[in-house]
Point group: C2
Chain length 202, copies 2
């Protein structure tokens, strides 16, 4: 039962999407091809018609997942907010919320998989780096367009800073959430409050 090229491409994308979701939830090592193919709606023997190995899927799903998260950011930054709240601060509020902390499968791919990516091969890390760079570009171009913007170099530095603080806070908040909920919230709130203060000064 051969499929049309379009149908085959759609099925391939289903596998990538299922992998992205499950990887974010359980990590690269915590998910089998069996789970992924079942989630995508197929039997797992057919996996190798689309990818040569689990590592190839890992690299593909990583970039696809980060790009999906990035598109959410782009959308959030382009939206007008009620009141005169900055869209960036508004996004940080959502990003540093308990809701996002507890939502592994639909949340930020960088935050969910950075720890795992450290132990992956060059190919997976190249995908990860590509996604990170694209997010930095989004943040830097937003900062550069702000009223009190400095140089392009300082915009990129700000972007790196924002990325490190937001992902770092979520990663740590998740690591202690079940064991010490108040510490987890304290971390998120401290970093968010700091963004609030910083952005009023600019």
């Amino acid at each position: 039962m051969k499929l049309t090229k379009k149908q085959a491409a759609e099925n391939r994308q289903s596998i990538i999407n299922a992998a992205g979701q499950l990887f974010r939830e359980r990590g690269f090592d915590g998910v089998g091809l069996d789970d992924i193919m079942k989630t995508a709606g197929f039997t797992h023997g057919g996996f190798y018609n689309h990818f040569s190995s689990k590592e190839m899927l890992t690299a593909t799903a990583t970039l696809s997942g980060i790009r999906h998260s990035n598109s959410v950011i782009t959308q959030a930054l382009s939206q007008q907010t009620k009141s005169n709240e900055s869209p960036l601060l508004c996004f940080f509020k959502r990003y540093l919320s308990k809701k996002h902390r507890d939502d592994l499968s639909d949340g930020c791919t960088i935050a969910s998989l950075a720890g795992d990516a450290a132990r992956q091969n060059e190919q997976v890390q190249a995908s990860f780096a590509q996604g990170v760079n694209e997010e930095l570009d989004i943040l830097a171009s937003y900062v550069a367009a702000m009223p009190a913007a400095g140089t392009a170099a300082s915009a990129r530095e700000s972007a790196i800073h924002m990325l490190v603080e937001t992902t770092g806070a979520i990663i740590l908040a998740r690591a202690v959430a079940k064991g010490n909920p108040s510490l987890s919230e304290e971390i998120l709130e401290t970093i968010y409050t700091d963004f609030q203060i910083h952005m009023k000064h600019e």
Copy 2:
């Protein structure tokens, strides 16, 4: 061949130490009890004489690993540096170095395992949270003792900030190291430079 209580306790600690090192290197899911027991110098059947499950070892090795890292920090902060450089800044320089980034097995336990800890049960996360709180205490009491110190609350906020930035930077730098070495270094340098500037202002 029963052993003295002292010998048995030492052997138990060997297992914990081996687990800590291997977990930092390869993550909780990436290491088998076989590897751990072999590294500690035993056959793997004996594991259950010391721990009731892998999860119990995971919780124990996590706290032990973080405490070991914390003792390194305490030592670094109490040391006088040549020139009048701050011991804290000096520690950050070492923490945010390529050497530390590439040294998973002897490096910071929080940074190596935060991503994995997010997917562990309450018991492991309680250990993780305990270790994080102890590190925050170390940093906060150091900040509180600085010449320009503010309130105790602001010292803790500073500590959380430092923890999030340093671990966040190392985690992201590791995630892209093999795929984009210059991005990896850029992240480390940007965060370190920011600490330099901030600490001169205080």
